[in-house]
Amino acid sequence: MNAQAQTQYATEVGYNFAYLDEQTKRMIRRGLLKAVAVPGYQVPFGGREMPLPYGWGTGGMQLTAAILGADDVLKVIDQGADDTTNAVSIRRFFARTAGVKTTTRTPEATVIQTRHRIPETALSGDQIMVYQVPIPEPLRFIEPSETETRTMHALEDYGVMHVKLYEDIATFGHIATSYAYPVTVDERYVMDPSPIPKFDNPKLHMSPALMLFGAGREKRLYAVPPFTRVVSLDFADHPFEIQRWDECCAFCGSQDSYLDELIVDDAGTKRFVCSDTDYCMQRRDLEEEGEQ
């Protein structure tokens, strides 16, 4: 969605500001304070039914609704893109229920709700990231029982996470986990950074922005405060590595952004483009300015 295509939506009447009622917002806000005080710990909260299905960002939306104010500028991205169904509808939802300004430009946003990416543009201390999380428990695929995983977190019993990564190495010769790559927050809690590519994991470390994570179906929220140590799990002989490409973006020529692979014809020709549409657009605008 281009800037000029952004119509001002009429604010809906009959809803509270940002859809949720004040009692629910207070409950989520108290949870957020505890999440910030215990970085990486998953705080249970009374998740509400939202007017869209689980899996479409109900957790992120409830957090956004709880923190959003009249002066905020909201950006919503889905896999890095501002113009996909999920991003457009959530942005429109808050434009209509809260009357807030929306943007696609990362530096202009004060609240960025995201599904599965962190913007390439560096974040600032005045911004809050809200992540949509499908499964908040990093231990869930190893231990299905909630009482067991809760005990494991309490005892800091995270050996199985390394076993899981080791099994990758035993099977594939390298750590094959490429998204939702587990991290340790401030040397205590192991946390699922939501299904962001591991390419984005280093951006969590000592970020100046506050990071909030919301899982609507699982009814958990957690947080990484600004300037917090976030370390991806690895081994001394198999250090953590991010994805790299030999190609560059077909639009903007970027060599250091996260690239999506496109098949462009029946012969299977591949092109690569930036997953972060705003970053790509900014670079192309700069290039055009340079040419003029």
């Binding site: 970085p39 977190h153 405060p225």
Partner: protein, 203 residues
């Protein structure tokens, strides 16, 4: 106190209950996310001896789900009536039951009875709302931890015994989170912050 004649104590709370609560919450969130940095909190008026920032924290956080413990200094008919009317929070006499506690400086010598959560549910702990006369001109202490890029020097005017009490109640992830309010300002101190009392000693 008889509820029937408590209306004489009532005062207006937030001008805009929705947006003022949101603004106050965001200040508190930023205070806790960046410990030691002073945040403005000016959306409420003072209520008797509750200063604006302290009262704004109460209005933003408290409702029927949050048992509150009141320090004797704040346990007045006017404060009780307004908290009952605007927040509807139960006021408890036992510190162990409180999810929030409203304290003044004289209460900081003993924090032993407030709930500091459990290993499995560290979030189920009491949050301390501490009203001070000022947020500066105390002994400079160095704070480290999440939310602080390197080290932050904070000069809260607190007795040394507070830091001993906090240390005694800390066993991360268990611990007490605190907001210090004075006038129209607030400073957050989450349990994750490590306070260095001097060069070597860590508390």
């Amino acid at each position: 106190m008889n509820a029937a004649n408590s209306s004489q104590w009532l005062q207006p709370a937030f001008n805009d209950p929705v947006l003022d609560a949101q603004t106050s919450f965001r200040s508190a969130l930023k205070a806790l996310a960046e410990p030691g940095l002073i945040q403005p909190l000016n959306r409420a008026l003072a209520l008797e001896n509750l200063q604006p920032a302290t009262y704004a924290l109460c209005l933003a956080f408290l409702d029927g789900d949050t048992p509150l413990w009141l320090a004797p200094r704040f346990d007045t008919p006017a404060i009780r009536a307004n908290l009952a009317f605007h927040c509807g929070c139960p006021i408890v006499a036992e510190r162990e039951l409180a999810l929030f506690a409203l304290l003044d400086e004289s209460e900081l010598t003993d924090l032993s009875d407030f709930d500091n959560g459990s290993e499995r549910y560290p979030d189920q702990s009491c949050t301390l709302l501490i009203q001070l006369d000022a947020l500066s001109n105390g002994a400079a202490l160095r704070w480290r931890g999440p939310g602080i890029k390197d080290v932050r020097s904070v000069e809260l005017p607190l007795p040394a015994v507070f830091w001993q009490q906090r240390q005694a109640r800390s066993a991360f992830p268990r611990g007490l989170d605190a907001f210090f309010a004075a006038g129209e300002q607030v400073i957050g101190l989450p349990r994750s912050t490590r306070v260095l009392l001097n060069a070597e000693e860590a508390a």
